[in-house]
């Protein structure tokens, strides 16, 4: 059994809204092994970004535990978290256009985290570390004085990666890091992330809505729907033996770039609702083509169907294909 870096237990994050309690992350439990990548997949509004930000302590959890090497980082005072764990857990943001301060130059942006976390370090030391970091992520030296608005999305995302890496974290939450990038640039960034993981033993939580990206980069995959985790297994497994009806629909909805594959598609009815004051039923029931009365009356729990493959569906056994 590999070493567990992060154990998330019954994590909940609710937001109070004028219309009621929004269950953004509801009772999510999973583990992340050191040096591995877990892919969190789901559509917008499923709570995957909130989950990432809750692990980062950018949101404070409503209840539940997040054990980082055994220490509960969700419950400890924010001050203690910032002192001891801020550097260990970092994040790469979705939109490289909005997540960099437009009034800072590239070098300043990369220096900032180093300076903040090492207030006693000399200015020249900070600069030299920042320069090393720029080289590591493939930012040319001549870009030091440039401002984000002069750079393309790929380079901006490299700045974002350099900022996260310069604190030498062990765990990085990647929140849709390539969604805003062009296809040819996307491949560059994905390769960079993989190289860094290999060289530095990083652990990733990779949040995305793109199934092909998540398959490429992840070891484990968890599918989220309206704040809950509905299926969790090894990356290969989900593409071969999809069990949950929602995962099936999600997979069949992906357009395949092949002129000859015309696959039968499972088109879902309706759209995602928002999880405000949810009733105790399967949250997917309203859109599920197989839903029965039981699905509308009882909430399914995530249970292990076969070793390493968990599903939250009352009728999961029926969907197991051998």
């Amino acid at each position: 059994m590999a070493e567990l870096l992060l154990e998330v237990k019954n994590l909940k994050k609710y937001f109070s809204t004028p219309r009621g309690m929004l269950h953004a992350v509801d009772n999510v439990t999973f583990n992340i092994e050191k040096g591995k990548t877990i892919g969190i997949v789901g559509e917008s509004g499923c709570g995957k970004s909130t989950l990432g930000k809750t692990l980062m302590r950018l949101h404070t959890a409503t209840s539940g535990q997040v054990l980082y090497k055994g220490a509960d980082i969700a419950a400890m005072p924010l001050k203690e978290f910032k002192q001891k764990y801020r550097s260990n857990i970092q994040m790469i943001f979705q939109d490289p256009y909005a997540s960099l301060d437009p009034r800072m130059s590239v070098l300043q942006l990369v220096e900032e985290p180093i300076r903040v976390q090492n207030p006693k370090m000399s200015k020249s030391e900070v600069t030299s570390q920042a320069k090393n970091m720029m080289e590591l992520v493939g930012l040319a030296k001549r870009l030091e004085g440039s401002y984000p608005h002069e750079l393309d999305g790929g380079r901006r995302q490299r700045i974002g990666i350099a900022r996260a890496l310069s604190l030498h974290p062990e765990f990085i939450v990647c929140d849709e890091p390539v969604s805003a990038l062009d296809v040819s640039i996307q491949a560059q960034i994905l390769n960079l992330l993989q190289d860094l993981q290999r060289d530095r033993g990083l652990t990733y939580m990779f949040i995305t809505h793109d199934m092909s990206v998540v398959k490429h980069i992840s070891d484990d995959i968890a599918v989220m729907y309206l704040g809950q985790m509905i299926e969790k297994c090894k990356a290969d497994e989900i593409f071969k033996h999809t069990i949950h009806p929602y995962s099936q629909a999600l997979l069949s909805a992906i357009p395949i770039p092949n002129a000859h594959v015309k696959h039968e598609r499972m088109v879902l009815k309706g759209e995602l609702t928002s999880p405000i004051n949810p009733k105790p039923c399967c949250r997917f029931a309203a859109r599920c083509p197989y839903a029965t009365d039981r699905c509308f009356g009882e909430e399914p729990v995530l249970r292990e169907l076969k070793p390493g493959h968990s599903v939250a569906c009352h009728f999961a056994e029926q969907f197991v294909k051998e």
Binding site: E43, S44, D152, G153, G154, R155, D182, V183, S184, I185, Q186, A187, Q188, L190, N191, Q194, H209, M211, S212, V213, K215, H216, I217, F239, A249, L250, S252, A253, I254, P255, I256, P257, N258, A259, H260, V261, K262, R265, V267, L268, E271, L272
Partner: protein, 328 residues
């Protein structure tokens, strides 16, 4: 009459400001047959949207200039039409669907009124008839017709895009230009919208240009494909030709750089460098710097379009006699 609905020939579009000239579209030529769906593929800044705006006659005034070329809709050159005549063409004969359904709708008018407005603009009919038509259109795109009295904010993202499509199709245009119609939507919603668009296109025989960066969407929807890079059509042909037998180095690299669901690859193929800057293009092949298959001769010429197979056009020097003069 010809069977081609749209013929674009030698089209060049520049954006001119005091600071720079952006060569957005550089000499593109393509034809679209009646009832056909063409995919226009390319990355940010490749000139896809500019091409569409050029066809619609909606280039930003003062800045956007058509330098040369012709755009013929059923034989009539749209570039020779007056702005007034173009207003009649837009909406009635060509419609466009924009990327972001959130901003394409007027928030203070009911969706029924917004559909009826287009109908009234292009047809002689009463308000009541137009509203009746609006309800038919809503039903056609899968929205309960009774909701015609609702305002845009009462609909979800996917529903809004359905309404935008209803507006675009209200006057039964001959040509529909869809600019990334599903990019802002989730996959399961995208699947719904694509299904619906395909059905409507079949039923009405509308010709369509689908602008997208997603090769998967192209494979599902289109019969012909045009790949754009730095304002040029680098490859144009039928879906099967371009997907099974890509000729241009850019098209090939593009396929290799997307993670595949069927194959496992350790590392993705990378197209080095950045997307070319259209305000600073070289006098030779724009893809030269990033190309895997380049040779020294590539710096001497601007490549021209070569028909490698019937209907399959590639703009790359390696398919011309000049290539043999150089070494690979």
């Amino acid at each position: 009459m010809s069977e081609n609905i749209l013929e674009v020939k030698d089209l060049v579009i520049h954006y001119e400001t005091d600071e720079e000239v952006v060569e957005a579209v550089n000499d593109i030529t393509f034809t679209l047959k009646k009832g056909q769906v063409m995919g226009l593929v390319g990355e940010t800044g490749a000139g896809k949207t500019t091409t569409a705006l050029g066809i619609m006659g909606l280039l930003p005034s003062k800045v956007g200039h058509v330098i040369q070329g012709s755009i013929k809709l059923e034989g009539e050159d749209l570039l020779r039409k007056s702005p007034r005549e173009m207003r009649d063409v837009r909406g009635k004969r060509i419609s466009m669907i924009f990327q972001d359904p959130m901003t394409a709708l007027n928030p203070v008018k009911t969706v029924g009124d917004q559909i009826a407005e287009v109908v009234l603009l292009h047809n002689r009919c009463s308000k009541a008839e137009a509203l009746k038509r609006a309800q038919e259109m809503l039903a056609m795109v899968g929205i309960v017709p009774e909701r015609y009295k609702d305002y845009p904010h009462q609909f979800s993202g996917g529903m809004k895009q359905r309404i935008v499509i209803a507006i675009a199709l209200a006057c039964e245009p001959d040509l529909l230009i869809a600019d990334e119609p599903t990019t802002a939507l989730d996959v399961t919603i995208q699947a719904q919208i694509l299904d619906m668009m395909r059905k409507l296109q079949k039923d009405h025989g509308t010709s369509m240009i689908l602008i997208t960066h997603d090769l998967g969407v192209v494979a599902e929807m289109c019969e012909t494909v045009a790949v754009m890079y730095a304002g040029q059509l680098v490859e144009f042909g039928s879906l099967e030709e371009v997907f099974d037998n890509p000729k241009h180095p850019y098209t090939r690299a593009l396929y290799q750089s997307i993670p595949s669901l069927d194959k496992d690859v350790e590392r993705l193929h990378v197209i080095p460098g950045m997307v070319s800057d259209p305000s600073n293009l070289p006098p030779y092949c724009s893809f030269f710097e990033r190309c895997d298959e380049k040779c020294d001769r590539c710096r001497d010429f601007e490549p021209w379009a070569v028909e490698v197979d019937p209907g399959h056009v590639v703009r790359c020097l390696q398919y011309t006699p000049e290539w043999n003069g150089g070494e690979k």
